[in-house]
Symmetry: C2
Subunit: 205 residues, 2 copies
Amino acid sequence: MKKLINSLINTNWYSEPVSRVERCKKMGQNGVTLWFTGLSGAGKSTLAFSLDHRLLEAGKKSYVLDGDLLRDGLNSNLGFSAADREENIRRVGEVSLLAADAGLIVLSCFISPFRKDRRRVRELHQRNGIPFVEVYMDTSLELCEKRDSKQLYYRARRGEIDDFTGISSPYEVPENPEIIVRSTQSPVEAAEIVYAYLQKKGLVE
Amino acid sequence: MKKLINSLINTNWYSEPVSRVERCKKMGQNGVTLWFTGLSGAGKSTLAFSLDHRLLEAGKKSYVLDGDLLRDGLNSNLGFSAADREENIRRVGEVSLLAADAGLIVLSCFISPFRKDRRRVRELHQRNGIPFVEVYMDTSLELCEKRDSKQLYYRARRGEIDDFTGISSPYEVPENPEIIVRSTQSPVEAAEIVYAYLQKKGLVE
């Protein structure tokens, strides 16, 4: 009898991991990448943090990927040259895809100033059937520079940082972002707007 | 009244994402990286797939990272030189860490033949307070070569693949893996052993 059970058990193996559909059903949510783009100081991470808490309260599973976190780890061997910036966004796009494929609501916060790079990440998600939502933080350079919580604008103006987005390197405004957040909106208001968008699109229940 | 509510709401913002402790409590599990190492054909992915299904059945959230998946995406710009192999494992170590930090049970399947590279990934997890469990798939070269499901050994023997682990490049057996899986164990039996280990260590309920 034990042998029979064992032989039955032994046939019960898998040649694939759990499918995305099955995984998402179990998690009660769809994996999705929310891509927050905007100038340094535009409020990307602050909004993502508020949304992360809001989603947790609703029993959802989310995760924030941000520039500082990734520059310390995965992208610690990249600088700020044109090629390195492109590779930076390529890698974080791939990591966002993996995390969303795992069923998470991924909150990716990267200045990502170039349309070409953002379009590539969007196309990567489309090819893999993962929803991609571009959230443009429409905060003026003036306001970002006034906030300057990391003193980066100050240093960039003094010429201590090369190719600083908004000062010595361009920021290309998104042409068709799914969501635009204005600086007049508080992080919590903005989080509600994004949350409502996810609900409307059936990405969270 | 509306103004008052708004002003109260507006103060409710966050300067940090959800903490790991809070996140894991909500998910009913601890993020952990299970690192499956062994020769090509040793059964790493097959075991991980079985475990992924086993965990899903138990209501847990897991995700499989494997070499083929990552080589197509994040690591598509890496080859098989010594430096590229090292960078390959460095990156997948960082991605494993992020996914485990997000609360997932990460099933990372990489030949990862060198002790030095595996030790680095372990230390990265230790520094960040994330459990790391090394699972050595102790399957003989003879058996792996007999299986040869991807015809890689055949091609390596003909000299068509350089630096192939086990043939023309060494595999360094783990010195102190947390778990050793023998080829006499079926994937399902092995999955139960790993699952029991996670329970014993309090990593799953």
